[in-house]
Subunit: 145 residues, 2 copies
DNA sequence: ACTAAATAGGATAAAAATATCCGATTAAAT
DNA sequence: ATTTAATCGGATATTTTTATCCTATTTAGT
């Protein structure tokens, strides 16, 4: 409804890796894709992008995998993950796809949608990876069902 | 950010046809695609689906085109247009794509997103084609820029 | 009847998103 | 050093979405 598959997988993977890191475990590709229920090879690409984008750390070689530190999880927000996977996610923000939709040049749903847009942006900017992974860890949230 | 191109075009086309109908004009494909800035042949397919879905009326033959009546515009909501073009739009409603995301089985953003989802649904269900086309007619909204 | 102007509908093409495969590289363990 | 377990990166395949093209059908006007 709002994110592409790539972004869905990317968020879930980040949350899983964060949760495992919180508990001192490093996660590898196979484990990640199993726990978030995503195609392995495709997930590999996404993890690569996340690593390049500074969201997670990748450790190569035997016993390697993906991990990140608690202080990083606190700083990383949902919006950072999204932008690491789709740099111009925030540029196409009009519901009807108008290039220059604005207060003075609104599409027919602009005024009714702007509150929702504002709240969505707020959610993306203020939800940290840490809080999501804590919820996962506590069993208050799930990544597959 | 939320709709596919097909749905974007579909909404704009419906609003344009409605506005023209309000003023007693019937709209044809060429005119519509010019005014909403969409590819003509693709728009033709979408208009067909909208007609089949009972959103607009299509009149075949010379002097034909698309139109609808004021009392219909009042009844037709944004959600009807969306569903006419994508029947299971409302079935994939979890931000992270979980099949059975719910209060008791939430994804990590469920609780923060549910208000937004509720408002979005409210907007879709309560925004009528009539009000959108009135705004367009009054010059308070635009379909291209 | 004929012509012209429309939409309908089927076939196809192009582009983007999703997904897979495989060899190269890295690093730990023996 | 060799083996083994990982990620990296490039090439390719598949699927879905977006877009186009062409013929058939319908209808108004002459």
């Amino acid at each position: 409804m709002i994110f592409s598959k790539a972004i869905e997988y990317g968020i879930k993977a980040s949350v899983y890796v964060a949760k495992q890191s919180m508990n001192g475990y490093r996660s590898n590709l196979k484990e990640i894709s199993e726990h978030i229920n995503s195609p392995e090879a495709f997930t590999a690409k996404i993890l690569q992008q996340l690593a390049k984008g500074g969201i997670i750390h990748s450790i190569k070689g035997a016993g390697g995998g993906f991990a990140l530190e608690i202080k990083e999880m606190k700083k990383i927000k949902l919006v950072d993950i999204v932008l690491a996977l789709d740099a111009d996610f925030l540029n196409s923000t009009c519901v009807l796809g108008l290039k220059h939709c604005s207060e003075t040049n609104p599409c027919p749903v602009h005024h009714k949608y702007k509150h929702i847009k504002r709240e969505t942006l707020h959610l993306l900017r203020n939800t940290s990876l840490l809080e999501m992974s804590i919820n996962l860890d506590k069993g208050l949230a799930y990544l597959r069902n």
